[in-house]
């Protein structure tokens, strides 16, 4: 085995490719500059003045999640596991996105809260609010740092840029446009990024398919590759879950990934929910995650398929999959390697731009949700209260800058971890899984008390941390993501158990204060979206759109079963 030379992943980028990349940066900064004109209040800055149309927020919703870690990671899973990777999209996202739109958005949007932590404050009071606001703000800055580091690593491999320089350049670009234009700039850029990412991935998918002899060629080659024909059908995905028994594997997927993990992420992660909160009406807010679900259902075609192609068409990847890869080569390199092998200058520049765009989308989503929670939920609620609105707008801009600086620091911390994806998953299982449990119980059980709100969150988070630590010190020995799955499950169950016990022993909030926050106490009109004016038309019905995407997902599952 030879050590992977740094130049092996180097793309043959020419002046034209750099020009296309530079042009994209100009547009991104231009959007930041233009969006600045529309920012006159803190609500403009943090929630785009609640004025955006659903197609914009819907694409931003999906783009905020389409960070490059996700992109490279899913292409890597495609290379390693094949078609079963689609579960991260079809089981692991679509149902939760539909649930967010139809069940939870009426409360988020209808109560006019400005953040997910603020919802907790109004439902449960300060305890739960502080726990969530602080943990969310920390998590976002950490994840932004991880994203930055991953970007720098990739730029270093592909283009030979020094890692510190890449971190600082990418951070400054994101900082510039999010500070100028606030959430509008972030969201508008996310929509643009969505299209650029598609423009980057579509050519490599098409050329790749031509190269392996079309879909049937790919099927033949995968069948004869180390993974075998199992990698061509979505179910039961025993390799992906690590559960040998097919029935157990399906149950693990549906409950572990599909329920605990994905509902925790999609329905309570403010970086996502913020996009829907910025929509211009209740109907548009409900449609946001549902419109986003359509591209989410289809995007595996240009993410997972290139990964699968790389595993049979790029000799280095094929060797890795057969178990004798070069040292230093990872499945995460599947997409960059395929791009290197197939794309000539020109399209190559677009592909590099798309990868960079997806990194920046991730970082901007982290930063723009961090500054909102920091300003509204921490600074305004606990530190400096009752100042005029301009003051908080200014705080928001400074918080953005500070957040990016901390993220740069985190980027260097992240370099200590071998597997970045595990690191993120661990963080995420600490905070998100108990949050969903608290939300769902609090939304439907009026008896749940303020004390239960915070104690459930703390117990759940500690449970997840305990699983993580036990796995780290070797008491448990779960591979890679197995610990995250278990951690999230433990957190969920502990949160519910503690919340119920504490609720029965403490005093609930008066029902009058819970209107708009608890299902049984909220008048139907407040939970219902309008169906006239700009929300008119059958094709704008959130329920119809939701039905459509569920049917689409079901059909896709049947086709690829």
């Amino acid at each position: 085995m030879t050590v992977l030379a740094a130049s092996d992943l180097r793309l043959d980028a020419g002046p034209l490719d750099y020009a296309l990349l530079a042009f994209y940066f100009v547009i991104v900064l231009g959007i930041g500059y233009l969006a600045r004109r529309s920012v006159s209040t803190s609500l403009d800055f943090f929630l785009s003045g609640r004025s955006l149309p659903a197609w914009v927020t819907g694409l931003a919703f999906i783009s905020a999640n389409l960070g490059a870690l996700e992109l490279l990671g899913m292409a890597a899973n495609g290379a390693q596991y094949g078609i079963p990777t689609v579960h991260y999209y079809w089981i692991g996202a679509i149902p939760a996105m539909v649930f967010l739109g139809l069940v939870m958005m009426p409360f988020y949007y209808g109560s006019k809260v400005r953040s997910v932590p603020e919802f907790l404050r109004r439902r449960f009071g300060k305890g739960a609010h502080l726990v969530n606001a602080i943990s969310f703000a920390c998590a976002q800055v950490l994840i932004a740092g991880v994203n930055l580091y991953a970007l720098a690593l990739l730029l270093n491999l592909m283009l030979g840029w020094p890692i510190p320089l890449s971190i600082v350049i990418a951070a400054l670009v994101v900082l510039a446009y999010t500070t100028l234009g606030g959430l509008s700039a972030a969201i508008y850029n996310e929509v643009l990024q969505f299209f650029v990412i598609v423009a980057a991935l579509l050519p490599v998918t098409i050329v790749g398919l031509v190269k392996v002899g079309g879909w049937s060629g790919l099927v033949d080659k995968i069948t004869n590759s180390p993974g075998g024909g199992e990698q061509l059908s979505a179910w039961p995905a025993t390799d992906l879950t690590g559960l040998g028994n097919a029935t157990m594997s399906v149950i693990g997927l549906v409950f572990g990934l599909g329920f605990v993990l994905s509902f925790g992420y999609w329905t309570t992660n403010f970086a996502e929910v913020q996009r829907a909160m910025s929509a211009k009406s209740m109907s548009a807010a409900m449609r946001t995650p549902i419109i986003g679900a359509y591209p989410k259902a289809l995007i595996p075609a240009i993410v997972i398929i290139p990964g699968m192609i790389a595993a049979v068409a790029v000799p280095q990847m094929a060797a890795l999959k057969a178990g004798h890869g070069e040292a230093g080569l990872e499945f995460n390199h599947a997409l960059p390697l395929l791009i290197r092998d197939l794309l000539p200058n020109g399209v190559l520049g677009v592909a590099i731009t798309g990868l960079l765009a997806s990194f920046m989308a991730g970082v901007a989503a982290n930063v723009s949700s961090f500054n909102t929670v920091f300003t509204y939920d921490l600074w305004q609620d606990y530190v400096v209260k009752d100042k005029p609105d301009e003051y908080y707008l200014r705080v928001g801009r400074w918080a953005t800058a500070a957040g990016v600086l901390v993220a740069i620091g985190t980027a260097f911390i992240a370099s200590g971890y071998g597997n970045i994806m595990d690191y993120i998953q661990a963080l995420f299982s600490f905070f998100n899984a108990p949050l969903f449990a608290t939300f769902i119980l609090g939304m439907f059980w009026r008896r749940m008390t303020p004390a239960a709100g915070w104690s459930g969150l703390v117990a759940g988070t500690l449970g997840a941390v305990a699983v993580f630590v036990l796995n780290e010190v070797g008491v448990l020995s779960l591979p890679g993501q197995g610990a995250s799955f278990l951690g999230a499950g433990v957190a969920f169950v502990l949160d519910i158990a503690v919340s119920v016990v504490v609720s029965l022993a403490t005093r609930p909030k008066p029902e009058a204060e819970l209107v708009g926050f608890v299902y049984g106490l909220t008048p139907k009109e407040q939970r219902t979206h309008s169906t006239h004016g700009e929300d008119a038309g059958w094709y704008r019905s959130p329920y119809l759109l939701a039905g459509g995407v569920l049917v689409l997902t079901l059909v896709l599952n049947i086709i690829f079963a």
Binding site: L20, A35, G49, R122, N345, G346, V347, A536
Partner: protein, 101 residues
């Protein structure tokens, strides 16, 4: 409600610039560059690298088509900026989901 100004009033500004023009512009520039590249400057080595497909040309043409679609959408259904009412994004109901042609 809280005592703070959490409730938005109707947008009072001329509003947001139209993102559709910007997306169209980006793809128009990319499309022209790639199409010219594909037609005039793509070598046989480039083409054999991309499995015999002149991918610059095809990508360029697809991007030009995308630019035209966004331009038509933005041009035919411009942003309306009413004086007091919340901004009406699309004056008439479009045929597809929120105006996809």
């Amino acid at each position: 409600m809280t005592d703070r100004t959490a409730t938005p009033t109707a947008p009072r500004r001329a509003g947001l610039f139209d993102l559709r023009w910007i997306i169209g512009f980006l793809f128009a520039v990319y499309g022209v560059v790639l199409t010219v590249l594909g037609l005039g400057f793509t070598t046989d080595a480039d083409i054999s690298k991309s499995a015999g497909v002149n991918i610059n040309l095809w990508s360029g043409l697809a991007m030009l088509a995308t630019a035209v679609v966004f331009g038509l959408w933005a041009g035919l259904r411009p942003l309306a900026v009413p004086a007091a009412a919340p901004a009406e994004e699309l004056p008439e109901p479009p045929p597809g989901i929120d105006g996809h042609h």
